[in-house]
């Protein structure tokens, strides 16, 4: 055994039994990224290894337990000023990986932890891949989610390795692939089990085991005991044969393009470019394909969409941190009041993290439904094999359903999700405060009632905080935390800690009617109702909103939120914030509620919801109502500008602490088009002056709902003012 004398910073190697073990370890970060210095050191190391005739094989492994290589260094792209610069970056990566692919000795990638983006492209250039079955091991090409494409040979190698359909699926969705699936797809050759504690910690033991197995594989590859060529099955052979027909391939390109257009409405350029690169590579050869890849990569990096998506990525990372310090005590026992959709959802994401949770309701029926909801959520995961039935059962054991306040004396936090009525909330807060211990935090899950009004009934307002979850709680990533001027810092810290544990992306905003998210949504929905009254049907409205990039159309969204909730909020905010919240006639919503059209939950809203049919039918009853409320090309901007203006106003009023949280809240809580990056990013890229011009035009026609707020006017006057630097 000998080791290289030259100690490097990002990667080092030692030679074990004729195999060079290259260990990657970025000293400055929790994860390894494919940065310029790492690439430089890696090139040096490879040259040394290739020049050493004693080395028969190599193993590439990370010394970090949770990360192989998590991707390319985004700052590297951020620092580029032009598309050409980014293209050069891509070409450098391509060159390096081409060399690895042509390596005279076998290189084994030993993957433990995240192997994403550039890291995956590195791995697939190697001759052999091993992956641990650890929970942290994921493979994938998430570039598309950042508005980019796999720019270091990924679009060229993946189709050859996995077949065209699987490669498209992987690159166009950017989804994470678990080790078992990766093995099945042919993305990795061999799996290694993670180990428990032995003579070392499980993490260390696992890495060492992986290394040992990888060295063995490298040796066997070198002496031809192990071959990477797999016997192809009949299905595979057939598929290859069919794919050999240019006509079939053309059909596939067309089909995939059509599907992408259907899903993205053409708002996202990256998926189309991925298809283009794959097509060029296959039809015109790898040289042409690689050139297309690097050029498109450079161009995409400069698009506003990629900028927006990358901004969201950074924002999301920022909103996964607790900026309020660690709370004085951990929440170990949590109680949720109200076993409705929200309450049960909150309970589900809490028990999921092994926190003892009481779910309390007032009726047996309500409680049963809520507990069933939690069970169903977990059971669905079991069906998808994400967890075992045993894990489902142990997770369920953390949940206690009850009708009384038993055990509340042990609660560290109570989250109430009872009916949105101030009197009910006051009654609940008094009841709860009589039974909870002094340190217990009272969080209220309201979507619109001001927290300070709820806290008015409390003896200890410093322990009261708003935690606004989004429905369905187990799917929606956002949690909006609302603090009043009396809420203590420790209470906030504790609420953020609980939210993070539940896996949420968190924004912390100030108190006020509708806080941040509800206010923006209400403004937009008010406009949506007006649009409906103008005679644009729900389907057309949805098509228009989706055309902007919203994942759910305006009418469908109202149904999801609940027409009753929307009516309630619209009326409350209208009262609190005045005519700015005008637009659509609240009576439309109220009449719908009276008729029982409460949205999806009641089976009828703007649409009729039937269990089996996929295609939603417009509710004819609603068409009738709209006819009775009769009161345009600009619909999209009317909707958008009201949303955006309200957001900027929230920042102006101090409800929002910063534009980043504003963007994150809008995108992750309300589905604001990700390609626009959030309302603030949108103002930056669209131009505040242009937006204000449009708004003034609408203001003349519709009134003060379109008056731009002062902050927006300031930005319009001075084009140097930007929300995001």
């Amino acid at each position: 055994m000998s080791s290289s004398l030259l100690a490097r910073t990002y990667a080092n190697y030692e030679i074990k039994d004729g195999v060079a073990v290259i260990r990657i370890n970025d000293p400055n970060s929790k994860v390894n990224t494919l940065s310029k210095p790492l690439q430089a050191e890696m090139t040096e190391i490879l040259e040394e290894i290739w020049g050493n005739s004693a080395v028969k094989g190599a193993v590439l492994i990370s010394s970090k337990p949770g990360s192989f290589i998590a991707g390319a260094d985004l700052n590297m792209i951020q620092a580029c000023k032009s598309a050409e610069e980014v293209t050069t970056l891509s070409q450098e990566g391509q060159k390096m990986f081409d060399k690895i692919e042509k390596s005279p000795i076998p290189i084994v990638a030993a993957i433990n932890g995240s192997c994403l983006g550039g890291g995956l492209e590195f791995a697939i250039a190697c001759q052999y891949r091993l992956a641990t079955k650890s929970k942290k091991t994921v493979l994938g090409t998430p570039e598309v989610m950042l508005g980019l494409l796999p720019g270091a040979g990924g679009t060229q190698r993946l189709p050859k390795m996995l077949g065209i359909p699987a490669a498209f699926d992987m690159m166009l969705t950017g989804r994470n692939i678990r080790p078992d699936k990766a093995k099945k797809m042919g993305l990795v050759h061999q799996l290694v089990d993670p180990l428990g504690p032995g003579l070392k910690s499980p993490e260390e033991a696992t890495i060492q085991y992986l290394e040992t197995v990888a060295i063995e594989a490298a040796k066997n590859l070198a002496n031809k005991k192990l071959s990477v060529k797999k016997e192809k099955g009949l299905v595979q052979k057939l598929q290859d044969m069919v794919m050999g027909l240019p006509f079939v391939r053309k059909q596939i390109y067309n089909m995939v393009t059509k599907k992408v257009m259907g899903q993205t409405k053409g708002l996202y350029p990256a998926p189309l470019k991925i298809i283009e690169c794959v097509q060029t590579g296959i039809e015109k050869g790898t040289t042409a394909g690689s050139l297309a890849e690097s050029v498109n990569f450079g161009n995409l990096a400069m698009t506003s969409e990629s900028l927006a998506l990358r901004g969201l990525y950074h924002g999301q990372v920022a909103c996964k941190k607790n900026n309020f310090g660690s709370p004085a005590r951990d929440v170990k026992n949590l109680a949720v009041l109200g076993a409705g959709l929200m309450g049960a959802g909150i309970a589900q994401v809490t028990v999921d993290k092994s926190v003892r949770t009481i779910l309390k309701d007032t009726t047996v029926e309500g409680l049963t439904r809520g507990q069933q909801q939690v069970y169903k959520g977990l059971n669905d995961k079991t069906k998808k094999k994400a967890i075992t039935s045993f894990q489902r059962d142990t997770t369920m054991s953390f949940l206690t359903g009850q009708l009384d306040y038993r055990g509340f004396d042990q609660a560290d936090m109570v989250i109430e999700a009872v009916f949105e009525d101030l009197n009910v909330k006051h009654k609940v807060i008094k009841e709860v405060e009589a039974v909870i211990p002094p340190h217990c935090i009272f969080a209220t899950n309201t979507s619109a009632l001001p927290i300070k009004e709820i806290a008015a009934a409390s003896k200890r307002p410093e322990k009261v905080i708003g935690m606004h979850y989004f429905s369905p709680v187990d799917k929606m990533q956002l949690l909006e935390i609302i603090t009043t001027d009396k809420t203590s810092k420790d209470t906030t810290a504790s609420a953020v800690a609980v939210g993070l544990k539940q896996g949420k992306i968190i924004i912390v905003v100030g108190d006020g009617p509708g806080f941040y998210t509800t206010r923006c949504l209400a403004a937009m929905l008010a406009e949506a109702v007006r649009v409906l009254q103008e005679g644009v049907g729900p389907k057309k409205l949805d098509a228009l909103t989706k055309g902007l990039g919203f994942p759910v159309g305006g009418a469908a969204l109202a149904d999801e939120v609940g027409i009753d909730v929307a009516a309630h909020v619209a009326e409350d905010l209208g009262k609190a914030l005045g005519s700015r919240f005008g637009g659509g006639n609240v009576e439309v919503l109220k009449t719908m509620v009276q008729k029982g059209y409460k949205g999806r939950k009641s089976g009828k809203g703007c649409y009729v919801y039937e269990k089996k049919s996929k295609d939603k039918k417009v509710n004819p009853g609603v068409e009738e109502i709209l006819k009775n409320h009769k009161s345009c090309t600009d619909v999209q901007y009317r909707l958008l500008s009201r949303f955006v203006n309200e957001s900027v106003l929230c920042l102006q009023e101090g409800i929002l602490p910063d534009p980043v949280q504003g963007d994150i809240g809008a995108v992750f809580g309300l589905g604001f088009p990700p390609c626009l990056g959030g309302p603030f990013r949108f103002v930056d890229s669209f131009g505040a002056d242009k937006l204000v011009q449009k708004m003034h035009r609408y203001e003349e026609v519709y009134g003060n709902q379109f008056s731009p707020c002062q902050l927006l006017l300031d930005h319009a006057k001075d084009s140097n003012k930007r929300f995001h630097k």
């Binding site: 061999q190 089990d193 504690p197 032995g198 003579l199 594989a217 045993f390």
Partner: protein, 487 residues
Amino acid sequence: RFVFRMFVMTKTKKTLAKPNVKNIVLVDGVRTPFLLSGTSYSDLMPHDLGRGALQGLLNRTGVPKEIVDHIIYGIVIQEVKTSNVAREAALGAGFSDKTPAHTVTMACISSNQAMTSAVGLIAAGQCDVVVAGGVEFMSDVPIRHSRKMRKTMLSLNKAKTLGQRLSLLGSIRMGHLMPELPAVAEFSTAESMGHSADRLAAAFGVTRVEQDEYALRSHRLAKKAQDEGLLSDIISFQVPGKNIISADNGIRPTSMEQMGKLKPAFVKPHGTVTAANSSFLTDGASAVLIMSEEKALALGYKPKAYLRDFVYVSQDPKDQLLLGPTYATPKVLEKSGLTMEDIDVFEFHEAFAGQIVANLKAMDSDWFAQNCMGRKSKVGVPPMEKFNTWGGSLSLGHPFAATGCRLVTTVAHRLQKEGGQYGVVAACAAGGQVFLPKYTYAQLARADTEYSRGATVQVFLVHSFGLFSVHVLCMKMTMCKSVQKHF
């Protein structure tokens, strides 16, 4: 050596008897020959083998059947026709039909559970004479109809009209006909025992060569013990209509070269656990006669050992499944005021060579003691010259629920033969040899044996049970209750 003896002498003064608890003794123990499943026993049923062991015990001890207060028998893979196999076997073996019998199950330490239950009954003053044992019959296992088919068949019973019956019959599809085999994987972790053993071996850096060497040692020692006639707990078994079986048939000392040729059985291609270094699927039964000391002496018996103390521990079923012996050994020693050096005989159940070697390494590791056991320093390794010197489960075979009694009887015999004083039995319940059993818990049984002058020996039983919490079952507890608590 002299110093050591002195030390033991001083220890002997401390009798390990407990105030206000009766002394409990092992009068004798027997077992049928252990055979590879699918060989000479293959046409029997589980209770047949149990009958053989129980009848053998009656014959060897000559215990008057009417004084037996209770019979407890263990089994893992249950034959549905004889769900209380204890009663079926006892009746067939000629025990009194007035003697109650019940069946216990606790994966591979089922007969240990039977013995500790017996100890509990005697300590509680409920019984004076108890027969305990266990049987496993892997030549035949229950293979069921699919759940869908069972549901249809049960509904058919209730169907009243011909039309209802026909429509039920018509609902049967191809999918209904798929049989349901006993689970390959553990219920809680979906991992097979062999797979778990392979990971455990890797976590402790146990090599393939170390495992093969240990397995070979087991086979060689077993062969030696067999040749020297040391396996005197075996009673002959007459297979009805066939020949008399009087020796184990799984002992096969080969060579490292032969063993090295085998491919890994569970983790492929880089695993280290193979068919040759794992215990094999076995048919067999065992039984012991346990009494209070005063009763035994009154009846004129010369008991073989005191059964003193036992501990059940349990750990994480995923990563620590097979590490029970490491956890339980120091516990029972500390409970009795003994140290590793005081023990003369170690009998550990050998589920896999990799598991035994991993346990030995764990006992020798300060890191493991400090980080996983909350101890200041390592447990210490049993000296190999005292360890499983008459072979073990790897070579003799491992009929799951019969192994515990074999271990305890062997400890008593070895102490007598070698003149030792204390013995320890440890067993982790590795249900999962190659493919069949679905039993998951890392369970472990141990007996500590103390020899005192004369012919009586004291045995401590120490068992560990592999789930989440650690519980020490104290002897005064009603055992039956604690069994229910586990399940």
